[in-house]
């Protein structure tokens, strides 16, 4: 944990951040920039665009982004990875679910700048060479999708859930997969997917 405190994912240490926040108003618009604060040189990002780089689905991507840009918008608008959707835009519906460091996150409420230096996995990586991941194949088989807009987020949530709970109980399914919402009403099929993948009765 000590290391985490020292260097956060954005590359800004907590100490540096505290110093920067005290001087932010005086920062010129060009970024990134080293400024002198409390007798030390610290990097400052924003409010203009700053260079950022990411590891997405095992590939390196870089872009000039404002620090206020979310991971979701960076994925979609900068790198054309449009499988993750913006629906509620406030961490309520899960349509933007991606894996950050192998953990599911709502990409709409993660800042891109904070997602640097950690592996990011999106829906686009799941099927390789046109071959569906078994979870995806099960989604098709059980018709666990209609309009399909919530589906990529649900597939990612299910994958992460099954990785962590290979033999899920019904109660675990109901609890862990309640963070994704569907309007067409495909939950029955999704429960069948989980049941099939985990060998439980489920649905």
């Amino acid at each position: 944990m000590a290391d985490d405190d020292e260097k956060t994912s954005s590359g800004v240490s907590r100490r540096e951040f505290l110093k920067i926040s005290g001087i932010a108003a005086a920062v010129p618009l060009v970024a990134p920039q080293m400024v002198e604060a409390a007798g030390e040189k610290v990097p400052v990002y924003g409010p203009g665009k700053a260079p950022m780089s990411f590891t997405i689905n095992g590939k390196r991507y870089s872009a000039q982004l404002e620090p206020r840009v979310t991971l979701l918008d960076a994925l979609r608008d900068q790198f054309d990875l449009t499988g993750s959707k913006r629906v509620c835009d406030r961490a309520e519906c899960g349509a933007c679910t991606v894996l950050l460091n192998n953990k599911p996150v709502y990409a709409c409420t993660v800042l891109a700048i904070e997602a640097q230096h950690q592996p990011i996995t999106t829906i686009e990586s799941l099927s390789q060479g046109g071959k569906l991941h078994p979870i995806q194949a099960a989604f098709v088989q059980h018709d666990a999708q209609q309009c399909g807009f919530c589906t990529p987020g649900f597939v990612m949530a299910c994958k992460s859930f099954l990785d962590q709970h290979p033999h899920a109980t019904e109660e675990q399914i109901r609890y862990h997969l309640n963070g994704n919402l569907c309007r067409c009403g495909t939950y029955k099929g999704i429960r069948e997917v989980i049941a099939q993948m985990s060998g439980t009765k489920g649905a």
């Binding site: 449009t82 209609q146 309009c147 399909g148 807009f149 399914i173 963070g179």
Partner: protein, 787 residues
Amino acid sequence: MAEYKWPAPAERTLIGKRISRVDGAVKVSGHAKYSYDYNPKGLLFGKVLRCPHAHARVTSIDTSAAEKMAGIKAVQIVQKPGTEVLWQGDDIVAVAAVDEPTAEDAIRAIQVKYEVLPHNVSDAEPPAGAGEGPAGPMTEDDLENALGNQVPDAQVISDLQKRGVTFQVTDDMTKELKGYGVSDAVINALKAAAYHPEAASQPRSPYQKMAAQTQGDPDKGFASAEVTSEGVYGAPVITHCCLETHGSAAEWPSSDHLLVHCSTQGVSGLPDQYAQALKIPAGNVRAHQDHIGGGFGSKFSPDRWGIATAQLSKSAGGKPVKYMLERDSELMTAGARPSAYARVKVAAKGDGTLVAWQSDSWGTGGPAGAGSPPLPYVFEIPNQRKQHTAVRTNQGPARAWRAPNHPQAAVITMCALDDLAHKLNMDPVEFFAKNLDMTGPRAPIYKEELPLAAELMGWKQKWHPRGDKSEGPIKRGVGLSMHTWGGRGHASNCLLSIHPDGSVDIKMGSQDLGTGTRTAILIVAADSLGIPMNAITLNIGDTMYPPDGGSGGSTTIGGVSSSTRRAALMALDQLFAKVAPALKAQPADLEARDGTVRVKSEPSRSLSWKQACAKLGAMPLSVTGKNPGPGNLINSGVGGVGMADVSVDTETGIVKVNKMVAVQDCGLVINLKTAESQCYGALIMGISYALYEEKVLDPVTGRMLNPNMEFYRLAGLRDIPELMVHMMTDPLNENRGVIGLGEPPVISPGAAISNAVANAIGVRVPFLPLTPDRVLAALEQQQKAGA
């Protein structure tokens, strides 16, 4: 000449089977492209400044600061100073910028001043006498109301003579009225009516009382009845909450040609709407859509924001501009189901035979009021009196919501009938069964469905007289509802080509809402041509393809399946004519089966599909199958039954659904898998609106209090119980042809769940959604009444 009919059951290779959707793989892999995903190089991002007031007049707009900002490429005033704004969130100014954050900054830099006007967002019961009293000159709404409610000609003429009109009577208008069958006498009175333009701008009562409708002799009916039940029932305004918000990307490939990627339920219908607004020929507008993230009735128009997006693109030199609504804008402005409430009196003989109905209903659809739901629903009770009052509010405009007006009608009617059954000391299944002869042409299907649903629900074991007498705070109950819908297929054109190399392609302007339209088209084409589905290339969702109807009213499946069937049979006719000589047979003796073209009576005399198509010569054959067209391939009118089993915690007021059953008829099923999915989805959506959904407006500010997805609550996976769906697929139903299914099964859940709650706790919770506070309030009232 082919005979245009569906293949006999034994000959169907794909129709009616369980087939996985053909676009399943592209959707689960995140590669399906929605309008929202359109991301061309150089794309500009739109944003819209929205009115924060429920009712206001725009007095001034200053966009100068925004225009000077770096990265801003276009600014478009959507509603000019002087415009009266009738709901919160209406579009005022739109901007386009190089990225979304810059567009947001520009919106914040725009200064708009408003004269705030008084608002009304309440759809509470109209006070006595509301909407009556001296009527001013007739508005277009008044006239429409009178003509639409069969007010006698003599009264309309006398009203026109006495009251005059607030609008100018044009030749187009009278021509249109004549087209609707309005009599010459009324049209002449309309032409002669005094014109009072000043009255149009005078404040009007929010209440618009429609003409009362009477059937039979309601007074006599009630007098003859042995048991009468009275109650108030209803459902509030809810939203569509499409996950892909409304919106589009627009660009101008040349100065008078527009290309739009628009999230829409009706691709073919878009060009004309853009053309009218932008003053370009409709033929110069191309619309495209691969996938749509939900519509549910709310996505047929480009909307104000869509037209503004096209204008922004034009101002930005034709560069693509994309604007999709934010979640809050979506919930505030992009679709609401009208509310409907009613005070109902309904009566029966002692044996349960219905004799009389009276309802005073009201509801709001926003600024335009709202029409009456079809009351009484499903049951044609012989003696009726009903009157509806439309309430104009600043709630935001209504849009068609999956089975418009039917879920509300079901809540009002089926809950009133359930209360009457309770008063009669009858099991509701027996009571409904007793009156099924009043359900008109669908009676035979209901007679089959009702016992079937009861069996699937385990009704006999679960039902008890109202009020679960078991110990403990958790009470359990069951309830039922019935519904009906039309669903006749819309106009459709299927352009089918067979090429000399054996490849087949289909082009249709239709769209797949996620109901499985693509899959259904391919099932019909492949089954008809005797080749695998993946041997056919299907192109839909573009105005470059032959026009198809909008996907509303459950009309798509009938439209596309029948046009495709006709196209395939026409194509085979032509192909057989070319192939027959090679097989030394008559064209009429051939059939296309199992990837071959062969002699029916001697299947070994055959050519492979590819060899057969090679006989076409150098040119492909191309045909267009149409709907309407020859043969009885489609039909209209379905019936369905819904049942619910719930548990209610009488200490917390929380309702939990334990099980739902849907038994549904839709004629010939094309794809059983996606048909069942429609029903499962409808039950889930039904649980959602029965228990959670309501567009909540603050009476003080007129603003929506829950324009987000934590407080505009949708059902989640953990809210979903055991679901059972049974499709009526016996030959009798199949012989009717294909009928739409998207809407009907969503109608009954609200009423069925409300009835189950009443059965559990022994008292009616009058209005949806059945939230804990409403359940506890009903229990409290019951306690007070008992004390």
